[in-house]
Amino acid sequence: MSGGVDSSVAAALLSGQGHEVIGLSMQLYDQSGQQSFGSCCTLDDLHDARRVASVLGFPHYILNFERQFAETVIANFVTEYASGRTPIPCAHCNSDLKFSTLLARAQGLGADYVATGHYARVEQAPGGRWLLRRSQDGEKDQSYFLFSLTQDQLARAVFPVGSLTKPAVRAEARRIGLTVADKADSQEICFVPDGDYATFVASRAPSVRAGAVVDTQGQRLATHSGVHRFTVGQRKGLGVSASAPLYVLKIDADSGDVTVGPRTALDRSSLTVSGMNWISREAPGDWASASAQIRHRHQPATGRVRAIDGARAEFEFDAPQSAVTPGQAAVFYDGDIVIGGGWIE
């Protein structure tokens, strides 16, 4: 329970259905002296969660996951940016914290399932396989951030608001009289509330590589203070003036070179992923048709997918896609069912 409207309503729905609910909130960073550190899970948010639990009449506890959060989510975020990739901490938080450490703790307390306020749906297929599907609310769908959940994890996951739209969730919160009904949505990356990732990364990875902005011929156009300041597909803040707009095409963390070029040079006809997690099926040995979503706000593109080996997969687009960004996830769908996904290499 983050203290937001989604997890609050998720808890309320389960409680209303007669389930025995234990409210758990995660404290993810040191709250002492931090009045407005994050957009999520601040002291005020934790108090909101506690109030919701109190109104709904079930126990509520705050678990101190500062160390685990730092070791898994934040460490990965910093390493990825420092390596020239663009990470998705929320996906790591889901599979490596919420449905890992938190799930194990909950099971220790006698809980059968962990429910969250995610907009996604979990279903069991006739063969027994657990399926992950997009939520009813396509705009709010978060299945992209849940692609790395294993069968074991999905079997223990419950997403009560996944079959509702956001307006319906807010309406439900108002109906029950929850004070958080009109609370603003949280930002994507809770531990960098001001959105200044570069400063956050630089303060934790002081040796991050500075280098040059170069064109596709290797011609030096400018210098920069660190590869973590760039994302593939980025146009602004390159420190170069040119007649036509330039985009980041490639980031080489070893040399420090950030290659820029015209938008057309961003197009890719295929991609490979590592850390591939197959959900709706076992790894296909042969090509299977699918659509691929390559970032959170991306209209899935059609094509075909196949396994390379146990941990990797490749996807070929029917039409080239712009800005295939290393570190982001490529999640493969069959309609609204998640086939699986992995981290773009």
Binding site: I22, Q27, Q31, S32, L43, L46, R50, P59, Y61, I62, L63, N64, H92, S95, D96, F99, S100, L103, A104, R105, Q107, G108, L109, G110, S148, T150, D152, Q153, G275, M276, N277, A311, W343
Partner: protein
């Protein structure tokens, strides 16, 4: 669910006599004790009565008792009051034990930020301050030494008389936080030889928000609050009349029951402790067995997160605690166990059981019957990593 309360070092339920008397005072003695008229005189009279009762609990003279807003306030008035009174003399060094309550530790930190030197006296695994360690910590310009009487987390009792003598030899003022010992073990301020001693009503079946500070007559103390002349100018502000009266009743009851309750609760605590150590594998007692307040035991559960164990017990209706909670209510590694030199995992896997008036033999049986299975379940599940892929 029948809920079992084993967290009396956090707070105690006010006794029936306390509630009755406070209720009567709230409705009948509304006068301001500073007022000259009849109503003021009546309020003043009930406060004076309470002052005598609290003084009796400490072997003190009523005129030396200052009523405060609780233990933290008492600690603050004592340390700040002495330090500020002595500041012009050039004494700018403060000493405390490393296992003090945050009320003392953070007050020292506040003075450190103002340029004072501070020294924390170490303790060993017994959780008891060695007199020699205090001797080492003392300096020429030590203004004040603050060492608690009984520790809140492990219950150990410090050799206050001996420590106070060392402070006196160094011409330093000695304060003791007796919040966890008052009402549990006999206290005699003269025998202890201290200069200041703070206590809190809600730790011995009185109300929250009221405490007392005993100060040796003649001690120079800068007032913490500026205002009226209440409490001989040492604690300005209209008195919490009902709270003070409740504290007086609680002090009187504690005096009357201390010996028998100490023996009874001590036996329950010993049985709980012995049973847990015998029946739950991988457990160990934290701190010395003696001298200790009779109601407290603190036990490490190997391969268990204290946080999970506390929650699991609460879900079964058993209220216990770990050392200290941070602002959000989550648990932090205990600074007391850390100061005792225990390995990190033991500072995070320890549970405090603190017993009280309502606890019975059946309560102990229930905990002892339940605990092994709960601990086993936590150990088996929290250590099974969920299959994951990065």
């Amino acid at each position: 669910m029948h809920r079992l309360y084993l967290d009396h070092n956090a707070t105690t339920p006010p006794s029936a006599a306390v509630v009755d008397r406070m209720s009567a005072v709230l409705s009948q003695e509304f006068g301001n004790p500073s007022s000259v008229h009849y109503f003021g005189q009546r309020a003043k009279a009930v406060i004076d009565q309470a002052r005598s009762e609290v003084a009796a609990l400490l072997g003190a003279d009523p005129s030396e008792i200052v009523f405060t807003g609780g233990g933290t306030e008492g600690d603050n008035i004592a340390i700040r009051g002495v330090a500020e009174a002595l500041e012009p003399t050039g004494r700018k060094h403060l000493v405390a034990s490393s296992i003090e309550h945050e009320a003392v530790l953070n007050t020292l930190k506040a003075f450190a930020r103002r340029g004072w030197r501070t020294t924390l006296v170490p303790v060993d695994q017994s959780g008891i301050v060695a007199p020699d360690a205090l001797r080492t910590a003392m300096a020429e310009d030590t203004a004040l030494v603050s060492i608690m009487h009984a520790n809140n987390e492990i219950g150990t009792i410090q050799p206050i008389a001996e420590l106070a003598t060392i402070a006196r030899e160094g011409r330093a003022v000695f304060h003791t936080d007796a919040v966890q010992s008052a009402g549990k073990v006999p206290i005699d301020v003269k025998a202890l030889g201290v200069d200041l001693l703070s206590i809190s009503a809600h730790k011995f079946y009185g109300p929250k928000g009221v405490g007392a500070l005993w100060t040796r007559r003649g001690l120079r103390l800068q007032p913490a609050l500026t205002g009226g002349k209440q409490e001989r100018g040492r604690r300005a502000g209209t008195e919490n009349v009902a709270g003070i009266v409740g504290m007086g009743v609680a002090a009187r009851e504690a005096m009357a029951r201390m010996t028998t309750e100490g023996v009874r609760i001590g036996a329950l605590r010993d049985r709980l402790e012995t049973s847990i150590l015998a029946h739950v594998a991988g457990t160990a007692l934290n701190g010395a067995r003696e001298p200790r307040v009779p109601n407290t035991t603190n036990i490490s559960f190997d391969r268990t997160e204290a946080e999970s164990l506390l929650i699991a017990l609460d879900l079964e209706g058993i209220a216990v605690s770990t050392g200290s909670a941070c602002s959000s209510g989550t648990l932090e590694p205990s600074h007391v166990l850390k100061a005792m030199g225990l390995p990190v995992h033991r500072t995070q896997n320890s549970i405090r059981f603190s017993l009280g008036a309502a606890n019975t033999d059946e309560d102990i049986d229930r905990v002892v019957a339940m605990l092994p299975a709960i601990v086993e379940k936590l150990r088996s599940l929290t250590r099974t990593p969920v299959a994951r892929r990065l």
